[in-house]
Symmetry: C2
């Protein structure tokens, strides 16, 4: 029998996260005055222990025991050899994936939701707020808060709120509040409703509402939480790659190629950063973050200073950005519809340590169907983007007759996204091509901002 | 750190199923003439290799290599210590569950769908038909057929078809056809539509349609498949209990109590039968199948001969039955809304080897919420019935100050059943109590049938 799964038991789990800030140089986030932001200025938004983690340059950071205790509800996650997909593709490549769909909410998101809830709890916080688009992050934070006795409030973009009732129900099952955004609970929400009572909402408005709801609590017991982009989020996700490296070692394998889809960057960073460290230490390895061609942040937008949100509440971050006002076409991979990219991932692209790729919506869904009908599992729309790139590489290996080892991150399952698969089957999905003109237009919003320096880490 | 999961690797997987027919005496299924049915009379419905398995009395039956090769896409499944639930209940009991939600369709059903598709394939079958109520079984068979290149047609009860579009989409993602029943494709369907064009459908009609679609194929390349009740289905599910026994052995544990929910009986049989064997060999162990109080087949209906379907296409089976015309109240646990019970499970109840339990709908959902907020995972409505019984036993152990070891079967996840949780939260779920009168009425349909003998296996 051909073995498929490489398992770790709980005693073999990594006890530290890998912090890439120890190994790369970064432009600092800037405040509205153009000067680097101070930790104190972020204190109304995030608890100070997480702010300290955000700016830490320690290479290895201990995972607290109470966090380990919750992570082990589902971790370590399996490393799976995709033998059925290999056979379907008739490739000499050996394809492995890290199955992050096994968590209670079904994605990698709880890897950071759990420590964020824990650090908030330690800081005495009683309520957490956040926004969610597709719903993955909102359900992960609701789950995490239920573990630490924190009340969770999620502002969910109205169009998703209406289209995906199961995500809201999942949050409620864990005791979270899920509110359609814009709402009447915040000034930002009321303003948006006044401008257009029938607005479908946007991630930009939802972020504004969540931040306002956090900083507006005069008791000081509420904080905001972000599910991607920031350094501490990337840090928490590295447990994926650290486990994967250990699992591959167990069977005497090492990847030639590492692949992850990238929206804000946390799923990619999670699998890739430990291998980035290896690469900086001399390993010969290709590392590909994959984005949708319809939201080509890494592959077509420049490295600039820009805000993380539409309403410009966040500091300016050094990153690849399509402009904070960019509204992507209505393609179906909610977690990848973001105008910016994590500053750490952006810096690695600038330095050429990782190479960004993009795939079309149709090739992503085709890859998803192929995988469901061979491996069985139905991947999330986000994951299908990584798989499309895996398939390209596996077919290239076949053409070249080379025994490549490919590792990718299975970010989540698609069970609550089957509506998009339905659209694919009925021919209602199409590819979106942005013109150079459209991209140039969208970038205008940050023309007057400071420019990041060109830094070289090694 | 307190360990939670006991894992097996693929090399440790059981290579044989346990066949309880080697150890218990059974009344034979009867044809319309009141005589035992012959294998030949079933040949138009099932392939002969599965019919042979249905009547085999070999104690151990080899799992074919190609079946192992597909089962290992997700098996062995984890055995999990529910430490968070234990803490919540403050019980001295140690609670373990076998997590069958990790399969691609999210339940234990593929454990039999895979071998059934394989044996059909070996027999030269090209098309398989089945019915589905809640959708779990239809998606499992679609998945299984996609693995063996068989075309799958699922007749789904119309009311579920309309209420649960994601189940249909899941089947289509695996290449299956999902048809609302009653349909125009069969005479049974057309008759039902003629009687009532707006009928919500029923499992009884859907079974009739699926059988008719199978036996009506004049090329002989189509067969029907059933997801529970029959002996070979129970057989295939024993891999659950065999793995669990091995996993408990690894950590020096053995259960005092084994619990599984029971609709047709396959999920219960899967975890319980290997422990039934131990009990027959002298082990002191309590074994509880759990049913909904609203469909009290095991706890309030007698052991009789009755048909497995409303339309009386199946042979008469010796089982606990509420009567083949029984329509259960509209409670929310689709997989448990069946009038009969697997003959093997029924025989064990008659002999007092296992003791049937029932729980109310509200206590089941309360148990589900408690579990989601402690263990993280959201259980299927069916699973919540097992958990309600587990909680009763854990609290009893607390009262008695005893260190009981409880093992139960986590039959599936509730991610596509969140609508029912929503009804619970909004107070729309209620308990259904059937009067003795109602039960007596429903049993009238088999009054004229032969009576099974009282057999004693040991």
């Amino acid at each position: 029998m051909e073995l498929k799964k490489v398992l770790l038991d709980e005693t073999e789990m990594p006890r530290q996260w890998y912090n890439i800030l120890a190994d790369i140089k970064m432009n600092p986030p800037l405040g509205p005055d153009g000067n680097p932001v101070t930790p104190d200025s972020l204190a109304p938004v995030f608890p100070m222990n997480l702010i300290e983690q955000e700016v830490s340059t320690e290479r290895w950071i201990d995972i607290p025991e109470p966090v380990m205790d919750v992570l082990t509800l589902w971790r370590p996650s399996p490393l799976v050899r995709a033998r059925a997909l290999e056979k379907l593709l008739d490739t000499p490549a050996r394809i492995y994936f890290k199955d992050e769909s096994v968590s209670p909410p079904g994605s990698h998101k709880p890897n950071t939701a759990i420590p964020q809830a824990y650090y908030n709890k330690m800081f005495g916080i009683k309520h957490m707020t956040t926004e969610t688009g597709a719903g993955q992050w909102g359900s992960a934070l609701s789950f995490a808060c239920s573990q630490f006795g924190i009340q969770c409030k999620v502002f969910m973009v109205r169009v998703s709120f209406d289209q995906k009732p199961y995500r809201k129900l999942m949050m409620e099952t864990w005791g979270g509040d899920c509110i359609a955004s814009p709402s009447n609970l915040t000034r930002a929400g009321r303003d948006a409703l006044e401008r257009d009572p029938d607005t479908p909402g946007s991630l930009g408005i939802a972020i504004s509402e969540a931040i306002e709801a956090a900083v507006g609590d005069t008791t000081g017991k509420t904080r905001y939480s972000l599910g991607s982009v920031l350094n501490h989020v990337m840090l928490h996700q590295t447990i994926i790659g650290l486990e994967a490296r250990k699992q591959m070692e167990k069977i005497g394998e090492y990847p030639d190629i590492v692949i992850g889809c990238a929206g804000g960057g946390s799923n990619f960073a999670g699998i890739a950063f430990p291998f980035v460290l290896d690469k900086m230490n001399g390993k010969d390895i290709k590392i590909y973050p994959v984005e949708p061609a319809a939201c080509p942040t890494m592959t077509r937008a420049p490295f600039v200073y820009d805000h993380g949100d539409t309403a410009r509440y966040t500091p300016m971050l050094p990153m690849h950005s399509l402009g904070h006002a960019f509204v992507p076409p209505p393609f179906h991979a909610g977690g990848l519809r973001y105008h910016g990219m994590a500053p750490t991932v952006s810096q690695l692209i600038v330095e050429g340590i990782v190479e960004a790729r993009s795939v079309s919506q149709l090739s992503a869904y085709e890859a998803g169907i192929k995988t469901a009908r061979s491996e069985g599992r139905i991947p999330a729309p986000e994951t299908t983007h990584a798989i499309a790139c895996v398939i390209e590489e596996a077919l290239k290996a076949k053409e070249e007759g080379k025994e490549k080892v490919i590792l990718f991150n299975w970010s989540g399952h698609g069970l609550l996204d089957l509506g998009a698969y339905d659209k694919f089957f009925s021919g209602k999905l199409k590819n979106y091509e942005l013109s150079d003109e459209e991209i140039k237009q969208s970038e205008k919003v940050y023309e007057s901002f400071p420019k990041p320096q060109v830094l070289k880490s090694r």
